[in-house]
Symmetry: C2
Subunit: 573 residues, 2 copies
Amino acid sequence: MSFTAYMLDVISDTIYPARITIENGIFKEVTPITVNEHELDKIDFKGLMIPGFIDSHIHIESSMVSPAQFARIAVRHGTTAVVTDPHEIANVLGIEGIEAMIENAEQVPFNFYFTAPSCVPATAFETSGAVLDSSDIEYLLKKDEIVALGEMMNFPGVINGDEEVHRKLALAREYGKPIDGHAPLVTREDLDKYLAGGISTDHECSNVMEALEKKLKGMKIMVRDGSSAMDMEGLFDIDEGAQSIDFSGPMELLFRDIFERKVYYPLFDFIVSDDKHPNDLLKGHLNLSIKKAVSLGIDLLKAIKMVTINPAYHYNLNCGAIVPGAQADFVIVDSIYDLNVLETYIGGECVFDGENVLFDAPEIESKNTVNASKKTASDFDIHYDGDECEVNVIECFDGDLLTKKTTAKLYVKEGIVQPDIYQDVLKIAVVERYGGNTVANAFIKGFGLKKGAIASSVAHDSHNIIVVGYDSQMMADAVNQVIDDKGGISVVSEDFADSLPLPIAGLMSNEDVYDVAKKLGILHKMVEVLGCKIEAPFMTMAFMALLVIPSIKISDKGLFDGENFEFMDVIIN
Amino acid sequence: MSFTAYMLDVISDTIYPARITIENGIFKEVTPITVNEHELDKIDFKGLMIPGFIDSHIHIESSMVSPAQFARIAVRHGTTAVVTDPHEIANVLGIEGIEAMIENAEQVPFNFYFTAPSCVPATAFETSGAVLDSSDIEYLLKKDEIVALGEMMNFPGVINGDEEVHRKLALAREYGKPIDGHAPLVTREDLDKYLAGGISTDHECSNVMEALEKKLKGMKIMVRDGSSAMDMEGLFDIDEGAQSIDFSGPMELLFRDIFERKVYYPLFDFIVSDDKHPNDLLKGHLNLSIKKAVSLGIDLLKAIKMVTINPAYHYNLNCGAIVPGAQADFVIVDSIYDLNVLETYIGGECVFDGENVLFDAPEIESKNTVNASKKTASDFDIHYDGDECEVNVIECFDGDLLTKKTTAKLYVKEGIVQPDIYQDVLKIAVVERYGGNTVANAFIKGFGLKKGAIASSVAHDSHNIIVVGYDSQMMADAVNQVIDDKGGISVVSEDFADSLPLPIAGLMSNEDVYDVAKKLGILHKMVEVLGCKIEAPFMTMAFMALLVIPSIKISDKGLFDGENFEFMDVIIN
């Protein structure tokens, strides 16, 4: 394959016409050419040729589709590679789940690079479907498909010298694979200890000062622009007060450039999505993030490097630039500024022709991972001996991982504590789905449901079944629908009921992302009809089980105090 | 040698702390490191480590000092390499001169890369000291020190198929060395023919449209910021009318970005100086040009790439980035923005410690290249039989290569045409200095000298002795001073006389650039006292012999009509 095109050289940051030869999926020759006046319109590609985009940190499970289906939508947006952490499926199915992901990924023309999930389960306060110990990590790190140790979320473990955690870090260093970080607001001596483990990236910075400290200490900074967490604006919003901080030594270098001159670009290395929900994924991927970064003050070519050559260089991937010897992954866009994708090529083959994606998505065989008996209304009752009682309540906020502890006085009827629509205090429960058949019940404020219930087997990070509702019977019905679907999302009320089955580990569908997004949209509408005020009810609900983010959450083992990292009682006495 | 530093990675465009090991002048290891809170001030270098700057097109002769002396001042400004075209000395001394430059260059720790001068002599209408034919070019292209064929100024020769010109181009292609261009305002079909010769760079663009056309046709664009020609502003000054031009096909790509969004950066590849006079060279070099480019809208890191990795990549130089395997040429600057040079290293050795340059400049043995007999006043007389006559006059403008043809009526005394101070019409002459002993006389307007004369052996491109003055005796004295000095610049009047000897080919001094600039400043003051209105009288005078730039010039063979490319008479009758 040989052709001419105007191409973007992300090493020199220029555009020039070139003759390009591809052999066996690899760029063989990239030769700058001169073009005759009358041959200008004979250049083979009408658009601009740029390297394919690389998302260097994404959990594909959040897109609710298989890797193969993810690839089919990603190539429409110019993405040709991802570094993906199969952390969610690992919590459900362990190595077996990771290998199913890899196997599915290998069947489509798309570059999936995996990381070995470092923190499965996330805490000891919940029941997960699997545990990955250091010997499992070693097994994974030996694989060519695994390019790094996945985000080390257990920063207390690193800082406090937890042996098993440090064994995992040592293995990654031994196998010469980079270690991804996850250290929100970790600073000073704690950050030093964290970094001493060899952790080299961070995608959790939420302000410039945090990014600055991490960058100065040698981390590579991932700017995150995803569905769950959108930190990008915060990273460009300089608090004037920060200028009074006393920097000295080499810190002064970047300090001056950033604060006095608003020169941000040397600070950031990658743009990542972390999580991309089906409906967001339909709209775009890194192509949109680049434009957003530019609108916030990042130089355009720098933004493009952050999703091409920079991640390729860091993770040692043979892509990310149009140079001889690299994989022939490239995109034809209408202009460097608009980045509308006209065609996408992977390994020299056209995979998206501007209208159609030219490959199919093989299915992942669905093994039932929902090992739970059917529930009845009484499973969701909280008992109290009295007429009224005071309870601890999780207060949640739309799309936010953080919650606030509050309390409410509730009426007790026939020994059962009653939710209260007028106070917007509903019931929430986590149903263990790995054979234990336990149910943990509590109360939640913020959802605004007036009737019915919603349930989901997507509940970070252990992915038990989580349910929110007013009525115990409806809650049982919603959970039973999820069980019937072998995992998924359900909405149940007196008037209607519907569900989105997610049979792959209770997290993903084999269906097209268009279909998944459409069904999710219908469910969202239904939840709205039930009175819910929250824009992303299932996502918000899924975070209610994420114990590592404060301040009050729930696992299958009970209501959890995220400040003191211990269980707490629902009823206050 | 091993140390830690915050370094600028010009591939990923980020700054990070790294441990760097240098062995035998080569970067052996560049490892990103993490830095402990309490070790931040233990980083070995207090400033930021960046790759040394590369000037990819400069004629060192314009700095009036030897390559070794040039190196001593350049390293103070962070320059560690130049691609230099020894075109001037080649016109005087041919291959012998080029080899003397190379030999001198090799004795100092600085990276000199030479090009083979493609156009010696510049025209057939002048007497030069040497001719470089295609066999000479082949001899030069075989040398490792020669990295390219020098700027092909003879664009009519390329366009019209001149055989000898095309033989030179073919040799460069055969030896796999790039060909530098020089094609001011060459456009459309002519540009196509020029490019078909394999010419890949241009440093003559004076407006965005010209750069755009050349870029779209595949040339690499050098933004020039030198002493003689300062095109930089023009390249960023978009004529609104240009927007009405009809672009189609791939041209539309850059067109939109440049005109609609003022996105310039993908358009330019290199920043070069072309010529740097001694006094300008004292002030700065590429460090200043980067800041100027930024002030005009070029992204800072892009500007740095234009003088580091981009030229290294194009000319196949093993420098320009801090990566394993590259020459350890680097600079410590106070900040990425201010670029004040704290230290400069070449091949891992410190060559400038912030105060002193740590190497000496060996001399080039001065062989007398001024082969001319002493002149008398009568050599500068123009005879006419009558009382008055009309003459053609060169009208010049301060620092401008372009001249305008004008005429004047002059009084004739005892058969000799007299200059006229009141009309500011002075005498100008070119004295052949290669043994022919001819003198060509004419008249010039614009200098404003009221008395005395100035002479110089720097007179582009053949470098005969050029002289301007009111009085024939003073002109003879000024020329004789240059002959006595074995080349140089002289000022002579009834009240004072002084000179700057340039004994290396009549172009350069072995002295320090500080001393040369100081003496040049004294001569400039003297010329001012003599009534001259021009700020750079010697430079302006040197251009009066540059026949290829219109519209009226003078060579040792006579007054020259640069529009019709033929000689013309001084006296109109």
